[in-house]
């Protein structure tokens, strides 16, 4: 009844406004969630540092434009490259030495890497929020029949889907992609069959981090306050998105991202009294999915070996 009232109270314009916000947020979540799901698919670990890779990418782009005065399009390309490199460095230094260690040690190492990046950013760039520079056209507001949207909102879903198709092409139709799938199916057998595991894992981290960088740049334009802890909450939510979609499944991560982004925005839109609990939505979603369908929406059933 309350929901019905809430819906009827909402005009078509404001509903469209919320949908645009929800879809752009969902697309950002989707891009970041892909990185989580790819790493989990191959290494069976949560890359806690992924959230902070997003944060670092924001700072890279910000300093590229403001401090080094590189044109924004060039900065974006450099940021993507630098972030991919950062992902590979983290994998080599924090995860590779623990390849044969107990799972909990890897988890602690991932938490440590994440914590280190946050503290490093806090130390180097100070904890004060910095303003992400305005990008010509993309940062400006445009008016679509009464709906006020930032121009970037129209690009975010397009870029996300383009990245998704490119990634699916790489994973399904190239030799590297085939190797990735082999490693995620069975690590040992892939090695026996002559796949260079270390290289494939590095490539996975590079791709995941590059997508995170694309997400981060658009995040920065959309939400311009950049702080060292900006990645934390989105990071947790994106991991949840990956779980909701079925961990290890790229399409699932995108679907999960959209569910979480849209759900979060629409709940606040329909029930403004719950707006303080906005961040709790994702965790409730996580519990529901783990309770009723632990493999996620598109996930495969995994059997535990004794």
């Amino acid at each position: 009844m309350e929901l019905f009232q809430a819906i009827t109270n909402m005009t078509a314009v404001s509903f469209a406004q919320h949908m645009v916000n929800g879809i752009s947020l969902g697309s950002l979540y989707a891009l970041i969630a892909i990185g989580y799901t790819m790493v989990y698919g191959i290494l069976l670990m949560i890359n806690f540092a992924h959230a902070d890779i997003v944060m670092m990418a924001c700072y890279f782009a910000l300093f590229g434009i403001t401090t080094f005065h590189i044109p924004w399009y060039l900065t974006f390309i450099l940021t993507i490259a630098a972030t991919a490199l950062l992902g590979v460095i983290i994998e080599r230094s924090a995860y590779r030495p623990l390849r044969d260690a107990p799972k909990n040690s890897v988890l602690i190492s991932a938490i440590g890497a994440s914590f280190l990046l946050e503290n490093l950013a806090n130390y180097l760039f100070s904890g004060r929020p910095l303003h992400f520079p305005d990008i010509p056209f993309l940062s400006s507001m445009i008016d679509l029949n009464g709906i006020q949207v930032q121009a970037i909102c129209l690009f975010i879903p397009v870029v996300t889907l383009a990245c998704l198709f490119l990634l699916l092409h790489i994973v399904n139709h190239t030799k590297t992609g085939m190797a990735m799938r082999a490693v995620s199916k069975d690590y040992e057998i892939a090695r026996v069959m002559g796949v260079n595991i270390d290289n494939i894992i590095s490539i996975t981290f590079a791709i995941g981090s590059a997508l995170a960088a694309i997400g981060a740049i658009m995040w920065g334009i959309r939400y311009p306050g950049i702080t060292p802890y900006l990645g934390v909450m989105p990071g947790l939510k994106c991991f949840i998105a990956a779980v909701v979609g079925g961990i290890g499944n790229i399409k699932g991560a995108v679907i999960g991202g959209f569910i979480l982004g849209l759900g979060e925005i629409l709940i606040v839109a329909f029930f403004p009294q719950f707006s303080g609990y906005r961040d709790a939505f994702a965790f409730i979603m996580l519990l529901l999915i783990l309770f009723y369908k632990p493999t996620g929406l598109l996930g495969e059933k995994m059997t535990e070996k004794v």
Binding site: L44, L98, N104, L107, G112, E118, Y123, A280, L290, P294
Partner: protein, 356 residues
């Protein structure tokens, strides 16, 4: 069979340490006392985290949330009634609570019980998960607890936090709390429950096949852990004199993670050492945050934030190169101490002397 002797020795040690605590309380300045108190509080919470993570092998990251529950119980009930209007100046306090006052010990126990109760509710669905999923779910719950606290303005004063908590900087009081927690947790871990925890840690499937109820024991470990985290959190709140949702961000849990990793996952005495080293170390590292001059030249490296960078590098180094920690899963037992006193060098030749 030296059980009786060991118990006597433990009691004697606790009595002596209590004497030291009384001495410290009387003679030492309040800054040092504060650090000692913080060590003790962190030892309680590190120990509580070790129960789930080290002994039962369930990787939980919810400690900050349970601490928040304990701290807020202390915050809500121990602020003197006449000062409450000052604290709740934005939104008046809930009329059912505004005149309820409790002494600290009662608020601590209430906080512990409430934290255990919440853990029981959370544990039922969450403890079916393993490893990473459990970590992220408990992390999420600790954030949800924080979000609920931030929003329940009429009870918790929301984002403003509660101040005017009667400050507790009494080493004797906190030492007693730590000693009681230590004794209770050690008794639990040496009982059949403790052995069941360790069996679950080593191999869940084998443990289940041996007739150990996974659900019951995991939940028990989780609730006991939450209980002591709640008590520790309450003491933490009383020590700080204020509680604020921002104090209980989930990064707070990482402190205790470092403590148990450094001390050894699955070692009670290890957690004690870890707590002392980490807390005192974090205090000592404060000099990194101050500007430093070397031979008249200011070193530009030293500015606020460096301390936490060093701290996180320490955590990484510990995990990467020293996974056992100080104690591993061993304990510092009286047998070892005695054999060390008798033959100081034998420890280097053979690994400890097993009792019994």
């Amino acid at each position: 069979m030296n059980n009786k002797r060991n118990i006597m020795l433990t009691i004697a040690a606790l009595v002596i340490l209590f004497g030291v605590a009384c001495f410290v309380q009387a003679e030492v300045n309040s800054y040092v006392r504060r650090i000692i108190n913080l060590c003790l509080v962190y030892a309680i919470i590190g120990l509580s985290m070790n129960v789930t993570n080290g002994f039962a092998g369930q990787f939980s990251l919810g400690q900050a949330g349970f601490m928040a529950i304990g701290a807020y119980m202390v915050g809500i009930f121990t602020v003197p009634v006449e000062l409450r209007a000052d604290v709740f100046y934005a939104v008046p306090m809930n009329p059912h609570l505004v005149n309820v006052y409790m002494p600290l010990w009662m608020a601590l126990i209430l906080g512990g019980v409430l934290a255990a109760f919440v853990a029981g509710i959370i544990g039922t669905p969450v403890l079916r998960l393993r490893g990473d999923y459990l970590a992220i779910a408990t992390l999420g719950f600790s954030e949800i607890i924080r979000i609920v606290i931030t929003n329940a303005t009429s009870i918790t004063n929301g984002a403003l936090g509660i101040k005017n908590i009667p400050p507790l900087n009494d080493v004797r009081y906190i030492f007693m709390a730590a000693a009681i927690s230590y004794v209770l947790i050690t008794l639990l871990l040496n009982s059949s429950y403790g052995r069941a925890f360790k069996a679950i840690r080593e191999d869940e499937i084998a443990a289940e096949a041996m007739g150990i109820s996974l659900f019951y024991h995991k939940n028990l470990a989780f609730m006991v852990s939450a209980f002591f985290a709640g008590i520790g959190g309450g003491l933490y709140g009383a020590l700080l004199g204020t509680v604020d949702p921002k104090n209980f961000l989930f990064t707070l849990t990482y402190n205790f993670l470092l403590i148990i990793v450094l001390g050894g996952m699955g070692s009670v005495t290890g957690s004690m050492f870890g707590a002392i080293i980490v807390t005192a170390g974090l205090e000592y590292l404060r000099l990194f945050d101050e500007p430093m001059e070397l031979m008249g030249i200011a070193i530009p490296l030293f500015r606020p934030g460096l301390r936490m960078v060093v701290f996180s590098i320490l955590l990484m180094v510990c995990v990467l190169f020293w996974r056992r920690g100080i104690m591993g899963t061993n304990e510092l037992t009286w047998e070892k101490i005695i054999s060390f006193v008798k033959h100081p060098l034998s420890g280097f030749r053979k690994k400890g002397v097993q009792g019994k």
